[in-house]
Symmetry: C2
Subunit: 515 residues, 2 copies
């Protein structure tokens, strides 16, 4: 057996344990009663230990060394590259640092839950100090191993190949035109009147409506399901993708678009090539590309006028409210494109969202590179929030720098080598980490660039209008889903769109929709 | 660390992988779409291999040898005994025999699905020959290792300590009085008129009713759930017990009593002692004792008049049919105690069920011990069916010896060391094996004997009537659930009832209910 074959077999074995882990995680979020959590945590921790052991097995080094001398075709070369990448990610950080991070992160996160409510920066800062210090140590070790700056090494966990240099260029561009665009849109929307949903929208009906919309989006129900959980996410495995949502019986709007978003993640997973099932090269390319698919579904398709026309019809039917002005196309479109300045990233609309992300990017970049200290964060947050959205977070820590747990419990180095869990990031909030935030806005930009290219060969609007969206999905399948991790992110985007990522298409998309 | 502690830690590690396996099995039955099955099978097979590797790890032999010299208290001694028992069960049969059985079993089972429908004994016989031969080989190896006859060694997998000698005594007793009792009851019931359910009973309402009944039976919803699957079963882990049922919208009767049955399995699991969680000594005692708990719930409590009075009230409320004669106490009681001679074991009532089991016991005993050949089975089946119930299965293989898959695919030696999966036997039909059948009737006998003793100190009827059944559950908890595998089966029963198992109480119970 060649060394390449040995590696292939080893990573397929690993994928079976990852399958178990993914399903236990989904079940814990979607089904498990509270009394089951301790034994489940222990079982999942044991699986993690086993997965880590397999991922860092001593003979792998030799196999990789030998396999690189073997004669491989293009796909095998890509497969070897991705196996090696996961192996390096798994072995790069010493076990004792991972453990120290896990302990510091859990402590910080646990206290953060009440500290945030009490706006207790002083208390939080005491724990967070250690989290930041340990993350800096991790970043240094990763940087040394990869020949990158500390923060670039952290970016590499989520967005292989993405650098501070490229992000600076992309985000500086956005920062130039975004504030004015926001002001202009707010001015334009000022006079618009919207009828907001009121009354009771039963969970059962919302779920039935969600399933209808998933059908419209060609979700493969033979290889996936829709369930409920506190935090919506996309989990499971490519042959059995489990998406979840949460329902508010006062308002159907958010759950419905949430399902569209998760369906985007799900169809990417369902569309990954079977030929590489269980292998790193057959996994989703990156967090940003994963988010590009959910945002393509949510923002490019889901909030388009012809799609909202479907939502209008289907929801009026579901709730048996044909003459209710809430469900009118125009009104629904206004609801789904309403822009508002706010403190909280997760509540932000499409237009103001990048401002929240860029602010975090600039702060975490400088924090990890040692340019600023953790005590500088609240003031910087206030300053950047003022500049971006004109709102102050002075002394308002809970709606400022303490709002995201991303920076509180950076445990994710344990799981980031496993992109199969990539689409689970929403629920794995507490497993987030420094270097993750840019993926959100990269995803939105990729999505806009994909749509711009797709429009050259596919009549997207007509496809959505007709209710047969398959030409859209065929393009995504050909250019993104079926390509999995065969190419680097840059190359994937270049092959799909003819150019590397830039903010032009994103700007154009926002202007066309909101101005 | 003492060798005893090393073993304890090892079996706790094992339990985490068993947790994963149990949950994946439940999910496959309750949730998984069909497209997910191949990857799931691969993941579960990989877990099985890993569990087997851990269960047979070479250093265990030394640890057991040393631990037996260490100074242990009574509970530790019991714990060591049960760990050793599982280790022996896992190591006793050579891997290549297990594999050969798995291949022959799968082949036989797969063909059986259509062969049974086509009544094709000749076709079935060709595959079954190998299954029987391999099971005989297994039984010989087990017998040699344990110093038992081949069939006793197979019994030991499910009912440790139970022997052919004791079963012969118990079942001979039953065979003396059962046929006449059946005839007398049939004669008595002849003139009874029953109103059978008709119309539509929605799944949602049946489920709500089932949950009500589970509440009445003190099911701990903080540590378990009710779901749906094609074959009802009880799965999961003691901290999170997953029971399932299947609903027939034409008739609510079967699903409702099925839930009572599975709740019995579930409460045993939920009642196992936390102090021994994850250890063999903390698991359910045997298949027969597990069945005794489900049958205690279903037969001793569930089909009692005061409990049926609750079912009458709750179901009439649920279906909003207060004046419907179907739901009248008397009528429901008649439905649930109707006796009928039939071919099919799984459809049999409480009274005729033992006849089906004893017939199978006698045949499989002689088959495994080499007293008869597999080609003798159809004629023997017909003869014994004539004697027991007066009905002929001549040339009617599909309703005769081909009805049960228990004998078709005896894979269970892979999982029997794991009693945590014990209560999953209903869905693991295809994992059943020679030696399993007696457990059903042993369970019914244990249940009757427990009730007979309980009645001396607990006013069972009054407790059921009052709707507060906790005194009943307290007795079961004290005497059965909390005792897990601390004692041998015989000792457990003696401690609980003051005598070893005998058929007296079972006979008395049947006579009182049916005559």
């Amino acid at each position: 057996m060649s060394n390449y074959d040995k590696l292939t077999s080893h990573y397929q074995t690993l994928s079976h344990f990852n399958h178990a882990q993914a399903m236990l995680g989904w079940d814990a979020a979607a089904n498990m009663p509270s009394g089951g959590s301790e034994a489940r945590s222990n079982a999942m921790a044991e699986l993690s230990v086993h997965i880590h052991r397999l991922s860092t097995q001593p003979q792998l080094e030799e196999w990789f060394g030998n396999a690189e001398q073997e004669s491989l075709n293009t796909e095998q070369t890509a497969s070897l590259r991705e196996m090696k990448r996961q192996w390096q990610q798994a072995t790069m950080v010493p076990e004792d640092l991972v453990q120290a991070q896990s302990i510091a992160g859990s402590k910080c996160e646990h206290a953060w839950r009440s500290q945030r409510q009490e706006n207790d920066w002083t208390g939080f800062e005491k724990n967070w100090k250690d989290v930041v210090a340990l993350s800096r140590e991790e970043a240094k070790i990763r940087g040394a191993a990869l020949g990158l700056t500390p923060y670039d090494a952290m970016l590499d966990k989520y967005e292989p190949g993405t650098t501070t240099a490229s992000l600076n260029t992309l985000f500086t561009d956005v920062k130039i035109w975004l504030p004015e665009l926001i002001e202009n849109v707010l001015e334009k929307q000022k006079s618009e009147s919207i009828t907001l949903p009121s009354g009771t929208f039963s969970t059962a009906t919302q779920k039935a409506l969600g399933l209808e919309v998933m059908k419209l989006l060609n979700f493969d129900f033979d290889r996936g399901r829709l369930d409920q959980s506190v935090h919506p996410f996309c989990g499971g495995v490519p042959t059995d993708v489990r998406i979840t949502t949460r329902y508010d019986e006062q308002d159907f709007v958010q759950a419905l678009m949430g399902i569209v978003h998760e369906t985007g993640h799900a169809r990417y997973e369902q569309g990954l090539p079977k030929a590489f099932a269980g292998l790193p090269v057959g996994e989703a390319r990156s967090m940003g590309i994963h988010e590009s698919q959910s945002l393509f579904f949510e923002m490019q398709i889901g909030r388009s006028k012809p799609f909202i026309s479907h939502l209008s019809r289907l929801s009026a039917e579901a709730f048996n409210a044909h003459n209710d002005p809430v469900f009118a196309e125009d009104n629904l479109y206004k609801i789904y494109t309403q822009v508002e300045k706010g403190f909280i990233r997760v509540d932000a609309d499409e237009l103001t969202y990048p401002a929240h992300v860029i602010l975090r990017y600039e702060i975490e970049r400088d924090l990890i590179n040692g340019v600023i200290e953790h005590t500088d964060v609240p003031a910087l947050w206030d300053e950047k929030m003022q500049a971006a959205l004109g709102i102050s977070t002075k002394d308002n820590f809970k709606n400022g720098c303490m709002q995201d747990i991303h920076w509180t419990d950076p445990k994710s180095n344990k799981i980031t080598h496993n992109y199969k869990n990539g689409c689970m990031q929403d629920v794995h909030w507490s497993d987030g980490s420094f270097g993750y935030f840019p993926s959100y806005t990269l995803g939105a930009m990729y999505a806009a660039q994909f749509m711009s290219t797709m429009n050259k060969t596919v009549n997207v609007e007509a496809a959505i209008q007709s209710g047969d969206l398959s030409p859209i999905f065929q393009w995504l399948s050909d250019n993104i889903w079926s390509q999995a991790s065969l190419h680097t992110t840059d190359e994937l985007v270049k092959r799909a769109t003819g150019e590397t990522l830039n903010a032009t298409h994103f700007k154009k998309h926002l202007e066309e929709r909101y101005l």
